[in-house]
Symmetry: C3
Subunit: 213 residues, 3 copies
């Protein structure tokens, strides 16, 4: 999944998931939410929209982002299509383009204000709105991420922590968050030392054997 | 394979379709046009090339654009692959990059000269030319757009109005053009009011119920 | 469909292939190399990594590029996924963004220093590292490139010449290099004349008939 601006930007989004399950608009048996799905966005949430496969239409656009932004969303991840790319850029929501090339050291970046920036991540774009194609069904329910190459089934639960940058989207279940943070900090430190060794010409094999014990 | 980067530009192309049906170069039974397909491009047309599925080669490149530009084409849409990306940029044809970020309001944009700009839209790129892979067959004939996720079959007829921007490509049959324009103008106005309401914190559900009656 | 705006850079990579065959990490029967695969990179080589299909993980990242850069690699082509995009940019390795628009004539470009620039080309990105997903097996062995639309099977042999730019990746077997260069020079000259004729308004059909005899 990619941000509707290239992968030029080194900014990230991070926050707990507010999940939305879309279904075929022709599906009359699935539940219907009591409110418009975007009105349920909580402050500081990352909206995660699951669009059923096989739809050519977009299920997120400029009006939705306007409302989500007002409600304080930190970002949006659409497992499906988005539209109104120009409008998003002008809204300052999905795309803060970095100076090229970025001069600060990536590995040393913390979650300061200039790195965390509101953005939309999506699989694709479409000029078609959702009307007559899809509609929201479940709000804050577990949703599945599927892809041809993602072999292990992946469930996104409401409240799961979502972290997304130009490399992709990562979902961390809340119960693993503390352990995950600890591992990341340890690995971050090892990676820093590895990078330094490699810059000094040490071979990869020996460096990994020494530092990743 | 491509290096990561995407849709930066808020410019559009718009015009009546000049359609070209490509076929397998090995196909000896399909019609052969009496002229080179690019010599048939009319002034102000948007060239729409339909490349058969399953080909890794490009069916449009820098020489073709040079000729189409000379004949006054407003743009090119390739349901297939394009090559010579650098050459296209240098020709000022496919890519007019906008200042980042764009400062003018998107929804207020009209089709002024700084918004409509000659560009090529394509599904993908290839370093291979069309020779030995595909050849032109029908000129200004109905062509089909197909994609795994486009469920409804879509025919592009010569003269259909093509509008393309960073969200995607839209085809409007001439007989629906006037009605479509009217609906768009109405919807544009509703969207403007909706956006204003959302910016003022009105919920999406109530706003849509009030304005999209 | 998207505009060829994406690939913004007109720089190229060029060099002999150092090939790496990745296999499923669970595969215990395939050979294991005696050294870390990135330590085998030769000076001036283009690293070509073949990741088996169906993996969601990345098999190349910032640490690998740091080592390959130290060893003097000219570029990397990954038939699979890459991560650490920000880090790569900061390292000055994969992405040297050109001024927009590029002003020099593309067709007249030679392989001067400002055109050849170290870069990574990949099919996709992933936030996941290779651990538990894939591992290196053969080093400097013939590898296969596969894609749904690439109908003719393509083998990349160690030492094959790799040339990659924004249009795609081309592989030239060493035994054909001289003949290929000769054909390219001839064709380059014909294309220059064709371009000039087209810019002067000569029809494509007649121009090709006259110049490509």
């Amino acid at each position: 999944m990619y941000s509707p601006t290239p992968q030029l930007c080194t900014t990230k989004i991070f926050g707990p998931a507010y999940t939305v399950q879309m279904v075929d608009a022709a599906d009359t048996t699935s539940p219907k939410p009591s409110q418009h799905f975007v009105d349920g966005v909580q402050k500081d949430a990352v909206v995660f929209i699951s669009q059923p496969e096989g739809f050519y239409s977009a299920c997120w656009g400029g009006l939705m982002t306007t409302r989500a932004k007002y409600l304080g969303a930190r970002g949006v991840v659409v497992d499906g299509n988005v539209r109104d790319l120009g409008e998003h850029r002008e809204m300052g929501f999905p795309v803060r383009l970095c100076p090229f090339p970025c001069s600060s050291k990536c590995r040393k970046r913390k979650f300061t204000d200039d790195v965390v920036h509101k953005q939309v991540f999506a699989k694709g774009t479409s000029a078609l709105g959702s009307n007559t194609f899809t509609r929201a069904s479940g709000l804050n329910v577990p949703v599945q991420f599927t892809s041809e190459t993602q072999k292990r089934p992946l469930t996104i639960n409401p409240g799961d922590l979502i972290l997304a940058d130009q490399d992709g989207v990562v979902v961390v279940p809340v119960e693993h968050a503390e352990k995950c943070l600890k591992i990341c900090e340890e690995r971050f430190e090892i990676d820093e030392k590895t990078m330094e060794a490699l810059e000094n010409g040490e071979p990869m094999g020996e460096t990994l054997a020494r530092l990743r014990k």
